[in-house]
């Protein structure tokens, strides 16, 4: 499958300060996004995620390196026809209503009048903003702006969608809705490039990820291959047992009333623990095996980098 987005050896530095000092942000970023996948781009704050994105979108001019979108360079009109972009902390023209705003962008794509109106209505419905259609954007809350932002990114039915920290600032319901939308878009055949540092969401929906630390991509690949299924430890919540008896079996994490949260590392100890509880007529409230998460890998990699 041809790569939808190809970045090779991207370098970018900025001159910062009154006496310009060169600060290198991107120190040779390379990655590749295939068609129809949800690609996660992760990294700590300041690693260069947004800078990479802006280089791809033609907002920033890289010092060195090659970028190809559907085989075209970033600034070409062909490259941009099939792109959609939702920025971090979106802010749009205050004085326009949601409908006017989408109409304005639709005109930039040269959509015909009838198509335009249908499209706007559909998109507003998709992001759940039909009721706010004629409300001025200045009155929108952060979450509402995010939704309208997504609508704007989809106005040209793009094949490649760039989302920069789209889930930040949404309430749990909003995040679930957005995750569902992203998955649905993938099912429609779109490719999605997702920048984020909220690892739980990435873990839930991404197919492949790249991790950028200090301006370099230190890891890239399918999510499944990065995370092993190995169980790290098990968290057991129990009550009715004397803490003294539990010392050999596991590490007490916290106590609330007579409930104890125990961290059990050895798998055998779980069976022993369950036998003990049964014997002493205690109760096990929960038993949660913790597998390696993306967060674990991530923290480890950042620490190493």
């Amino acid at each position: 499958m041809a790569a939808v987005l190809e970045i090779e050896n991207l370098f970018k530095s900025f001159k910062v300060g009154f006496i310009p000092k060169k600060r290198e942000i991107l120190k040779g970023v390379s990655l590749s996004v295939a068609a129809g996948e949800i690609f996660g781009y992760l990294g700590p704050n300041g690693a260069g995620k947004t800078t990479t994105l802006k280089c791809v979108l033609g907002l920033i001019f890289p010092d060195r390196g090659k970028i190809e979108i559907f085989g075209h360079p970033p600034l070409s009109a062909k490259g941009k026809e099939h792109l959609g972009y939702l920025p971090e902390n979106p802010y749009f023209y205050d004085y326009l209503t949601a409908a006017e705003f989408l109409d304005f962008y639709a005109r930039l794509f040269g959509l015909r009048k009838k198509d335009k109106e249908d499209k706007i209505a559909t998109l507003l419905r998709l992001v759940g903003m039909e009721k706010a259609r004629d409300l001025q954007l200045r009155k929108f809350s952060r979450g509402m702006l995010q939704r309208v932002g997504l609508a704007q990114a989809l106005i040209n039915d793009p094949a490649l969608l760039f989302l920069d920290e789209p889930l930040g600032g949404l309430d749990p319901l909003g995040r679930k809705e957005l995750r569902d939308v992203i998955v649905r878009l993938k099912q429609e055949g779109k490719t999605i490039f997702l920048c984020s540092h909220i690892l739980q969401d990435i873990e839930m929906i991404c197919d492949r990820v790249a991790i950028i630390v200090g301006g370099r991509v230190i890891s890239q690949g399918a999510l499944q291959s990065l995370i092993s299924e190995r169980v790290l430890f098990t968290e057991v919540t129990l009550s009715g047992i004397d803490p003294a008896d539990l010392i050999d079996l596991g590490e007490p994490v916290s106590t609330l009333g007579d409930r104890i949260l125990l961290k059990v590392v050895q798998e055998d100890n779980i069976e022993n623990l369950m036998a003990l509880v049964h014997e002493r007529r205690g109760r096990i409230h929960s038993l949660v095996p913790r597998t390696e998460t993306l967060e674990d890998i991530f923290v480890e990699m950042v620490r190493q980098g």
């Binding site: 900025f14 802006k54 033609g58 026809e81 920025p87 760039f162």
Partner: protein
Amino acid sequence: MKIRAIALNTFKETIRDRILYLLFFFAAIALGISRLLAVLTVGDRVKIIKDVGLASISIFGVLMAILIGTGLVYKEIDKKTINTLLAKPIQRWQFLLGKFFGLVLTLFIMTLAMGLIFLVIVLLHTGKLDSRMLLAILFIFLELVLITAVAILFSCFSTPILSSIFTLSFYLIGHLSWGLETLIQKTRPGTGRMALRGLSAILPDLENFNFKTEIVQGLAIDPRFYLFSALYGLVYTLFILALAVLIFKKRDFI
């Protein structure tokens, strides 16, 4: 087409700007005051009304152009609305031109409104309409177009306050052009003089658009001069816009 979309959007943005209406309000007051001032004079009353009227349209028009124009591009960059815009298939120069034409349209409407009030006041006072007043107002508008281009140029790389100062300086320098002439005549021939001559050629001569005095006094103006001024204005505006496009083209939007 795309420039038109941006222009219309910019027009919607600027026509809702409160500064515009504040300035328009002051302009209307100034036009009203012209009648009061006329009462104080001994002799020709209409001259006072015409002078104050045209000067008001000019001053407030320039203020509108500067105050709104200098924020136009800067706001988009500062508020990052430009990022989503430029991610769409639109060229940077189309964006810039769209902004320019949007503001020009707004200024056109404002000048028309102020001009109408002025002409009505003059009509009430003299009972007749001098078509040359329209010419004076037209050339004031042309000057505003050029000032707008300059404001947008500075807005591409500077904060609104600095841009306002630069654009205002441009306006003031443009009206001091014959101060430079006198300086040239007083300088001894040599490199200094040539440098000054070069400077005077490139610096804007905004007096070219200033027909206020002649028209109020009823003096004749060679029609070729009108044509020349209009052409000068358009060419200079083109020059400034080209500069702006150049600066804007290679800019990183961090």
